[in-house]
């Protein structure tokens, strides 16, 4: 029942011009025989920060990877600004204005910072030769201004393997934030970060909101999510167990609900 209705809704909303930024309709994802996403339907509004929560293995990372084109959904549809995304790929999602900090960081250790910064979106001429000077210049800017790298010891030519865990995360985060996007997805961006670095990420997210963009923020720490998010989507074993507005739930209640969900299998 849901599919036809939602599809109609999406089409209508698009026609009216007030479509949500992103809409997933009955998205399923299987890996071999394992159903990791089970009829997931959700919306991300424009200028909305959505917290995506759920236990380990709930399917959060898989869900965002179907949005970014890393995984193709087994079935179901994804709409962006009211338009159905037909042939999906990472390139396409970036072109649409979706940027992602993956849980795995997606950095290659033996390659330099500037090479990692521009991977997959190299500044090239028509023949595919890179404008290395320009990529380095912009990487330098990102490092000094967005990440606050002050040390002269780390340059854009430093290989990523020489960086600390926090610095690597800094690269992954600023890479996503530098290229202006409408939807920024952050999958566990603060793991292993120091307190002050975590605070900076929180501020980045508030800034996304201020600038009128949207974000999906994944974290196991409700105390990080709650202050910056507008809405929470709870994922449980591949299904959307519930959607909660911030005004309907306090931080403690949300925390408690999550604990109960793990214990009882129901969101109450």
């Amino acid at each position: 029942m849901a599919e036809a209705n939602l599809q109609n809704e999406a089409a209508e909303a698009a026609a009216k011009g007030d479509a949500p930024l992103l809409q997933m309709v009955d998205v399923c994802k299987r890996f071999g025989g394992v159903q990791v996403l089970d009829n997931v339907s959700l919306e991300i509004g424009s200028n909305e920060i959505v917290g995506l929560v759920g236990d380990n293995g709930a399917g959060k990372s898989t869900l965002i990877k179907t949005i970014t084109g890393v995984h193709l959904p087994t079935s179901g549809d994804i709409y962006y600004k009211g338009e159905k995304i037909s042939i999906h790929s990472v390139k396409k999602s970036r072109k649409l204005g979706i940027e992602t900090v993956y849980q795995e960081r997606a950095l290659a250790d033996l390659q330099t910072i500037w090479q990692n910064m521009f991977l997959g979106r190299e500044i090239t001429n028509k023949l595919g030769f890179m404008n290395i000077k320009e990529e380095k210049r912009q990487s330098e800017l990102m490092m000094r201004e967005h990440m606050g790298f002050t040390s002269k010891a780390i340059t854009v030519d430093t290989e990523v393997e020489f960086l600390s865990g926090g610095e690597k995360q800094g690269i992954a985060i600023s890479r996503a934030l530098y290229f202006k996007a409408d939807l920024i997805i952050l999958d566990e961006p603060t793991v292993a970060l120091s307190l002050s670095e975590t605070q900076r990420v929180q501020e980045f997210i508030l800034d996304i909101k201020r600038r009128g963009h949207s974000a999906i923020y994944i974290s196991h720490s409700i105390y990080l999510l709650y202050p910056v998010c507008d809405r929470f989507i709870v994922l449980d074993r591949g299904r959307v167990a519930g959607v909660l507005d911030k005004k309907d739930v306090t931080q403690d209640e949300l925390q408690e609900k999550m604990v109960n969900l793990v214990k009882t299998g129901v969101l109450a």
């Binding site: 970014t68 033996l110 595919g128 606050g148 002269k152 010891a153 020489f162 970060l193 670095e197 900076r200």
Partner: protein
């Protein structure tokens, strides 16, 4: 991000890192100079004359061109074992087309040119078949390309039925210019000729270097070899990068086969059978990591010079020919040990 982390932790200074990044090239450069110094000092009567260099410039490019192409596949963390057979298949295709079509102009293309194009086309097809198995079906590259190595060699044996094909007629004929362009000799001075294939080797070496360092493809090869998943997540078309690398190898192998046929003006069915290990060794002593993610075109170029000069060098130094492989082995063991040491220290 990272203010704290940066201040509390100071990695190596930049200039040291710069040297670290060129460590491989510097090491192999020193080894190359060292090896040729040993030749010069040990056998000046041979190595102060142009003749030996002429002979190097004739033979090394064949191994060298193969090694240049293999550098990309190996930087991917993969391997192509089929190239010796592709060489033979490319050469066979060229020779067969040439000798059977001498009297007719197909599509207005004269027979030698047609044969060369057909040979190169077959090389590309071989690369695509490797890709189908390795990229398409997900068969490990070493397994898939051992399969195709036998298969391609088998095709050569069946088609050639044990017989060689002479290419002598092509040296004069109307297409002697084409022949010259691939395997001719330029008269530089009265006593010194320069083999065309050496110019090809240098030209292709520069091309590979530019692609590796400045082209998106070269960068993507390193990323895929380093962290395939990250490359995919950042939008690199991983299958396309891998397929391109195998096609380049197939094309280069066919080209090497064609040039080597023309050089001796003869196709023989066992062509390429003895080239596998020297070509791979040139890549490894050049410092390209078999683990992927790090490759050096300059290293491969110099590695080919070392591998290709060793046999003549050893014999000129007064060793019995039986010693050749002992020295091959030593050079390989020492160089990869040095890289292992150098890379560990820099991590």
């Amino acid at each position: 991000m990272g203010e704290q982390a940066v201040i509390t932790r100071l990695p190596e200074p930049t200039f040291k890192q710069k040297i670290a990044r060129s460590k491989i090239e510097i090491s192999i450069g020193i080894v190359t100079v060292g090896v040729f110094l040993v030749y010069l000092i040990g056998a000046p009567q041979v190595f102060t004359h142009y003749q030996i260099y002429y002979s190097f410039m004739t033979t090394i490019p064949i191994t060298g061109i193969l090694a240049l192409a293999l550098t990309f596949v190996i930087t991917l963390g993969e391997i192509d074992m089929s190239f010796p057979s592709v060489m033979a298949l490319g050469g066979l295709t060229m020779s067969t087309v040439y000798s059977n079509m001498s009297s007719v102009d197909y599509f207005g293309i004269p027979p030698l040119t047609l044969g060369i194009l057909a040979g190169l086309g077959v090389g590309i097809l071989c690369g695509l078949l490797n890709s189908l198995l390795i990229v398409g079906f997900g068969i490990p590259s070493i397994v898939g390309s051992i399969g195709t190595q036998f298969f391609f060699r088998g095709l050569v044996n069946v088609i050639a039925a044990g017989a060689g094909i002479s290419m002598l007629a092509a040296q004069s004929g109307p297409e002697s210019g084409v022949y010259f362009a691939l395997a001719g000799k330029i008269q530089v001075t009265e006593g010194a000729r320069l083999p065309m294939q050496f110019l090809w080797f240098i030209g292709l070496g520069v091309l590979c270097l530019v692609i590796a360092k400045r082209h998106r493809f070269g960068l993507h090869v390193s990323f895929v070899g380093d962290n395939k998943l990250a490359a995919q997540m950042m939008g690199v078309n991983v299958p396309r990068v891998r397929i391109t690398a195998y096609v380049i190898t197939g094309l280069a192998a066919a080209f090497a086969g064609i040039v080597s046929n023309l050089e001796v003006a003869y196709f023989y069915p066992s062509q390429g059978e003895d080239i596998m290990l020297p070509a791979l060794a040139a890549v490894f002593i050049g410092g390209t990591s078999v683990l992927g993610g790090r490759g050096s075109v300059v290293g491969t170029f110099l590695g080919a010079l070392i591998m290709g000069s060793l046999e003549a060098g050893i014999i000129s130094l007064g060793f019995d020919g039986f010693w050749t492989k002992v020295f091959y082995g030593l050079i390989i063991m020492v160089s990869v040990s040095v890289y292992s040491f150098v890379m560990k220290k820099s991590t």
